[in-house]
C-alpha cells in the first residue's frame, strides 16, 4: 500500500478542491472513490486508457473528444485535481453563488466557462474559431454513415451561416455564446431537468414522428 498512501485524499486537499470547484465534501469524496476505481495502475493519475476502459464511452460519439478534454495541453496524465477541475464545469449553477464576491474570479461552472468547454470540444487547434472543417469533423462524429460528404458539407455551411455574424465563415466564441436555447447547460449530468426536457421532446417526437 506504499504507493497508495501518497494518493489518499487529505483534508486540506479536499478544502482546496472545494474552494476551487464548489463541490461539496461528500461529492468530492465520492468522485475520489470513482477516480481511484478508474485508476487501475494505482499511481494517482489517470491516463487515456483508463478513460477508454469505460465501456459506455466507446459508444458515445463524442467520447474520445471528451476524454481529451480532461487532459491539459500536451499531457497524458491527469491527476485528481485536474479531474475535478474538468468535472466542475458541469456543476449546476446555484443562485446564491451569483451574489458572492463579484471581484472573485469567475467560478468554474459559470455559464461562460461551460460554453468555453463545449467550444473547445469543437475547436481543436485552439485558434478560438470553429472553422468549417472542425465543424465538419464534429458533425461527422455525431451523424450516421448515411449522410454523404456533400450533404454534411451543406449542413455545416448552413450552420455557420446561421451563427456567423462577422462574416469570416467561422464561428468565434462570442458567436457561439449567442446560439440560443442552451438551457441544457445548467444541468448536472443526471439531473431531471435535462431528462424532462428530453422526455418532452421525445414524447412529442414519438407521438408525432413516424420514423425516428
Amino acid at each position: 500500500m506504499g504507493s497508495r498512501a501518497s494518493t489518499l485524499l487529505r483534508e486540506e486537499e479536499i478544502e482546496e478542491i472545494k474552494k476551487e470547484t464548489g463541490f461539496s465534501h461528500s461529492q468530492i469524496t465520492r468522485l475520489y472513490s470513482r477516480f481511484t476505481s478508474l485508476d487501475k495502475g494505482e499511481n494517482g493519475t489517470l491516463s487515456r486508457e483508463d478513460f477508454q476502459r469505460i465501456p459506455e464511452l466507446a459508444i458515445n460519439p463524442l467520447g474520445d473528444r471528451i476524454i481529451n478534454a480532461f487532459f491539459p495541453e500536451g499531457e497524458d496524465q491527469v491527476n485528481f485535481r485536474g479531474f475535478m477541475r474538468t468535472l466542475a464545469h458541469f456543476r449546476p449553477i446555484e443562485d446564491n453563488e451569483k451574489n458572492k464576491d463579484p471581484t472573485a474570479s469567475e467560478p468554474l461552472n459559470s455559464r461562460t466557462n461551460k460554453l468555453l468547454f463545449a467550444f473547445q470540444l469543437y475547436d481543436l487547434d485552439r485558434d478560438d474559431k470553429i472553422s468549417r472543417d472542425e465543424l465538419l469533423q464534429v458533425l461527422r462524429m455525431m451523424v450516421g454513415v448515411n449522410i454523404s460528404d456533400e450533404q454534411l458539407g451543406s449542413i455545416a455551411d448552413r450552420t455557420i451561416q446561421e451563427a456567423d455574424q462577422n462574416g469570416d465563415n467561422s464561428i468565434s466564441f462570442n458567436e457561439f455564446i449567442k446560439v440560443g436555447n442552451l438551457q441544457h447547460i445548467y444541468v448536472w449530468a443526471g439531473d431531471h431537468y435535462l431528462i424532462l426536457t428530453y422526455i418532452l421532446l421525445s414524447v412529442l417526437q414519438d407521438c408525432l414522428c413516424s420514423s425516428v
Binding site: F51, P55, E73, L87, V138, L182, L200
Partner: protein
C-alpha cells in the same frame, strides 16, 4: 377502417354469444338441466338429474355432457373472454392513449357483469381471493421481477425501501387513525367497527398496487428514476402489507384487551422475519433456477418450463411459511435473470421472455375484467357516504403528505435530489388495485361485521384511482412539464449544439460514475465475478458477459437479420441516382417539420433540418425510454447506431495506438492533434499479469515489429479481455460519398480476436465484414 369496424362488430357478437353460452351453461348446471339444449341430437336422460334412473332408450350418437367439462370449460371461456376484451379495447388506439387500458377493461367488466347478473339474478363469477392470489397474481409479479432493471433498482434501493416501508406504514396509520377519529366524531353514522378494524382497513388500502401502476405508467413516459421508485415501492410494500394485515387480523381476533407490549413487539419482529424471510426464499429459488439451467444443455426444449415452475414454487413456498410471497417471487426474478439469460440457449431465453409477457398480460387483463364484474353484485354493496368519501380523501391527501415528507428527508442524502414534479407524479401515481381488493375479500365476515362496507369502499377506491387518476395522469404530467420547457423553433446550430451537449453530459455522467462505483458495489461485483458466476453460470456463458463483447456477439449473430430488417423497416427511399439532396421522404407527421414549414421556404434548408433530424445519433437518455414495459419486449433498433459509433471509436483508438507505436500518420485524422505525438508507453504493473493470460506471440503485417510487452499493454488496456486487433486490410477512412442505400454499411474489415481468461483458451474471431460484397 372497414376492417376495424368489422372486427368491432365481430368482437361484440362474439361477446354476446360467449356470454350467453356461459350463462346458459351455468343455468344448465345450476338447475340440473331439466330442458335439453337446442340443437343436440338425441338426449341423454341420465344427464337430467333428479333421479331418472338408468332407462336408456338406445345408443346415443352425440350427447351433451356439460357437467363433464364444466369447470375447465368455464375457465378457458373466461380466459378467452378476457382476451377478446383486450382485443376490443385495443381496437382504437386513440382511445387507449387517453384512457388507460386498465380502466377500459374495468368498464368492459361492468358490462359483462351486468349481462351475467341480468341473466342469473346473482353474480356467479367474482374475483375470489384464492384464484387471485394463487393463479393470477404470481405471473404478474414474476414478470415484474424478471424484467426489473437491476442496476437502477439496486442503486435506488435505499429510497425505494424508505417509501415502501415507512411510506406504507405512514399511509396505513394515518388512514386508519383518521377514519377512526372521524367515526368517533360521528361522520359515518352508526357502524359496528372498532379502532383495530380501522387500522386493518387502513393497512390494506394503503398499499400501492404494482399491477395498476404498470398499467398506467405504460402510457406515461416518465424518467427512469421516478419510474423505478414507484414501481419498486409497489413491489416491496407487500412485505409491510402482509405483516400489518396479519398482525391486525390477529389483534382483532384476540380482542382489544389482550394487546400488550409483547404482542406489539412480536408484530415488529414479524415484519423483519416476513420481509427478509420472503426475500431469502426468493433468492434460494433463484439459485436453484440458475443451477438447474446450468445443467440443462441437453434438454433445451423444456428449459423454459423450469423458470415458471420454480418461480411459482417460490411464491407458494413463501405463502406456506406465511412469509411475503410477493417479495419472494420478485427477488427470485431479480436474482436469476442474469444467470439464466447467460446459461440458456437464445431461443429458450426468447421463449421465456415472451411467454412471461403473455402470461402477465393475460393475468392482468383477467384481473381487471373481473374487478369490473365483481362490482355488479348488489349483495356486497353497502353505501356509507362518510366512510367512502373520507377514505378517498385520506388516501389521497396522506399520500401526498407522506411522499413530500419522505422526499424532503431523502433529498438530504441523495446525490441527485428528487424534484418537485417527480414528487407530484409519485404521489399522484400511488394507485390502489386488485391486491387491496383481494385482501379485503379475505376478511372473515364474522369478525368483521362491516366487511361489505369495506369491500364496497375498496372497490370504489380502486375504481377512483385506476380510472380517474389513470386518465388524468398523462395530462397532468404533460401540463407540469410544459410549464417548464417550451419547445421552440430551433436553428440548425442550436440543434447540433443541443445534441452535442447531450452527448457530452452522458459522457460526463459515465465518467463520474453516476450509477456509482462505491466500495460495497465493487466488493459485491468482485465476489459475484469470482464465486457466483463460477458456480451458477455455464463456462461458455461466462465468457460472453462483457458488455462490449456482447455488442459484438449480437452483431455476429444478428448482423444479417438486423440489416435486412433495417432495410425493410426504414421509411427512406433507396435511390441509387446521384441526386442526393432530395433523397429522403419526409415522414407523414413531424412536429419540428411543421413548425419550420411555416418559416422556411427553401427546400434545401428544409431538407438540411430533416437530414439532421433523421441522422443525428440519439443521446443515450432518449434511448432508455422503455426500460420496463408490460407489453413490449426490447427493441433492437438502436443497435445499428451503437454499432457504428463503437466501430468508429475502436478504429480510431487503434489507429492512434498504431501511429503511436510506429510513428505512422494515419490516412485521415479525426482525432485531436496530440495523438500525433508519440505516446510514451507507461508500463504499469508489469509483474502483475494474470497467470491465466496466455497469449500467443503474433507477428502480423502491421504490428509485427512491436514488442510483446507493448502488445500486452494494449491488451490490458481493454480490461480482462484481451483484444488482439488485426486489420486485414489497411483501414480506410469512413465511407464518404456513398449512396444512402448502404445505410448500415460497415466500414472495412476489423478483425478482433478476443481471448478470455478461462483456463481453456478459446478463441473467438469476429469478423465485421464489408457489406458491400
Amino acid at each position: 377502417m372497414a376492417c376495424r369496424t368489422c372486427l368491432w362488430l365481430l368482437g361484440t357478437t362474439f361477446f354476446t354469444c360467449t356470454v350467453r353460452l356461459v350463462v346458459e351453461g351455468t343455468e344448465v348446471g345450476a338447475t340440473q338441466g331439466s330442458h335439453p339444449e337446442p340443437g343436440v341430437v338425441g338426449s341423454n336422460h341420465s344427464q337430467a338429474g333428479g333421479g331418472h334412473g338408468s332407462s336408456i332408450s338406445g345408443i346415443q350418437i352425440v350427447t351433451f355432457k356439460w357437467h363433464h367439462v364444466e369447470a375447465p370449460y368455464l375457465i378457458a371461456l373466461w380466459i378467452l373472454v378476457a382476451g377478446v376484451s383486450k382485443m376490443v379495447v385495443e381496437l382504437n388506439h386513440n382511445l387507449t392513449s387517453v384512457i388507460p387500458e386498465s380502466a377500459l377493461l374495468i368498464i368492459i367488466g361492468w358490462i359483462l357483469g351486468g349481462i351475467i347478473y341480468g341473466a342469473d339474478k346473482m353474480q356467479t363469477f367474482t374475483l375470489t381471493p384464492t384464484v387471485f392470489f394463487f393463479y393470477l397474481l404470481p405471473q404478474v409479479i414474476l414478470d415484474a421481477g424478471y424484467f426489473m432493471p437491476n442496476k437502477l433498482f439496486f442503486s435506488n434501493m435505499g429510497a425505494i425501501l424508505v417509501y415502501a416501508v415507512i411510506g406504507t406504514c405512514w399511509n396505513a396509520a394515518t388512514v386508519g387513525l383518521g377514519l377512526w377519529g372521524c367515526w368517533l366524531g360521528g361522520a359515518m353514522g352508526d357502524i359496528d367497527i372498532g379502532l383495530l378494524q380501522f387500522l386493518l382497513f387502513g393497512s390494506l388500502i394503503a398499499a400501492v398496487d404494482p399491477v395498476a401502476v404498470i398499467a398506467v405508467f405504460e402510457e406515461v413516459h416518465v424518467n427512469e428514476v421516478l419510474f423505478i421508485m414507484v414501481f419498486g415501492e409497489s413491489l416491496l410494500n407487500d412485505g409491510v402489507t402482509v405483516v400489518l394485515f396479519n398482525v391486525f387480523d390477529a389483534f382483532v381476533s384476540l380482542g382489544g384487551a389482550e394487546i400488550d407490549a409483547v404482542e406489539i413487539i412480536k408484530g415488529i419482529i414479524s415484519f423483519f422475519v416476513v420481509a427478509f424471510g420472503g426475500s431469502l426464499v426468493g433468492i434460494i429459488f433463484a439459485l436453484l433456477i440458475s443451477l438447474l439451467t446450468r445443467c440443462t444443455k441437453n434438454i433445451q426444449i423444456i428449459e423454459p418450463g423450469f423458470i415458471f415452475i420454480l418461480g411459482y414454487l417460490s411464491y407458494l413456498t413463501a405463502e406456506m411459511l406465511s412469509l411475503s410471497a410477493i417479495l419472494s417471487i420478485v427477488f427470485c426474478g431479480i436474482c436469476c435473470q442474469k444467470y439464466i439469460n447467460a446459461n440458456m440457449d437464445e431461443r429458450s431465453v426468447t421463449t421465456v421472455r415472451y411467454v412471461m409477457k403473455v402470461l402477465a398480460n393475460g393475468s392482468e387483463t383477467i384481473i381487471f375484467v373481473f374487478l369490473g364484474i365483481s362490482a355488479i353484485d348488489p349483495a356486497v354493496w353497502v353505501w356509507n357516504t362518510g366512510f367512502i368519501l373520507l377514505t378517498l380523501l385520506f388516501i389521497f391527501v396522506f399520500r401526498f403528505i407522506g411522499v413530500f415528507l419522505l422526499t424532503w428527508i431523502l433529498n438530504k442524502y441523495r446525490l441527485v435530489p428528487l424534484e418537485f414534479i417527480d414528487q407530484v407524479v409519485m404521489s399522484y401515481g400511488g394507485l390502489r388495485g386488485a391486491v387491496a381488493y383481494g385482501l379485503v375479500a379475505m376478511l372473515d365476515e364474522n369478525k368483521f361485521k362491516e366487511k361489505n362496507l369495506m369491500v364496497s369502499t375498496t372497490l370504489i377506491v380502486v375504481y377512483f384511482t385506476v380510472m380517474l387518476q389513470g386518465i388524468t395522469m398523462k395530462p397532468l404530467v404533460t401540463w407540469l412539464k410544459v410549464k417548464r420547457a417550451a419547445v421552440t423553433e430551433l436553428t440548425l446550430a442550436e440543434k447540433i449544439q443541443n445534441r452535442t451537449f447531450d452527448h457530452m453530459l452522458v459522457a460526463i455522467e459515465d465518467i463520474s460514475g453516476q450509477i456509482g462505483h462505491n466500495y460495497m458495489r465493487d466488493k459485491w461485483h468482485n465476489f459475484e465475478e469470482r464465486w457466483l458466476c463460477w458456480f451458477l453460470m455455464k463456462p461458455s456463458a461466462r465468457k460472453s458477459r462483457d458488455y462490449i463483447f456482447n455488442i459484438f456477439h449480437q452483431l455476429n449473430l444478428k448482423d444479417a437479420m438486423s440489416y435486412v430488417k433495417e432495410v425493410r423497416a426504414t421509411h427512406k427511399v433507396r435511390e441509387s441516382h446521384d441526386n442526393l439532396i432530395l433523397q429522403d421522404i419526409v415522414p407523414s407527421v413531424c412536429l419540428d417539420m411543421h413548425e419550420q414549414d411555416l418559416t422556411m421556404r427553401e427546400s434545401e434548408d428544409f431538407n438540411a433540418h430533416h437530414l439532421l433530424q433523421q441522422h443525428l445519433y440519439r443521446g443515450r437518455k432518449q434511448v432508455l425510454k422503455h426500460r420496463y414495459s408490460r407489453s413490449h419486449l426490447e427493441t433492437n433498433r438502436d443497435e445499428n447506431e451503437v454499432q457504428e459509433i463503437f466501430q468508429r471509436t475502436m478504429r480510431s483508438r487503434l489507429e492512434s495506438f498504431k501511429s503511436a507505436k510506429m510513428g505512422v500518420a494515419p490516412a485521415k485524422k479525426i482525432q485531436t492533434k496530440h495523438q500525433k505525438k508519440d505516446k510514451p508507453q507507461k508500463v504499469r504493473g508489469e509483474g502483475t499479469f494474470s497467470p491465466f493470460l496466455h497469449v500467443r506471440p503474433h507477428s502480423h503485417p502491421l504490428i509485427g515489429n512491436v514488442s510483446l510487452k507493448k502488445h500486452y499493454d494494449m491488451m490490458k488496456m481493454y480490461g480482462n479481455h484481451v483484444f488482439d486487433t488485426i486489420p486485414l486490410i489497411p483501414v480506410q477512412p469512413l465511407p464518404q460519398a456513398r449512396p444512402p442505400q448502404l445505410r448500415g454499411h460497415q466500414p472495412p474489415v476489423v478483425c478482433i480476436i478476443i481471448q478470455s481468461h478461462s483456463k481453456a483458451i478459446s478463441r473467438i474471431c469476429l469478423i465485421l465484414e464489408n457489406r458491400l460484397d
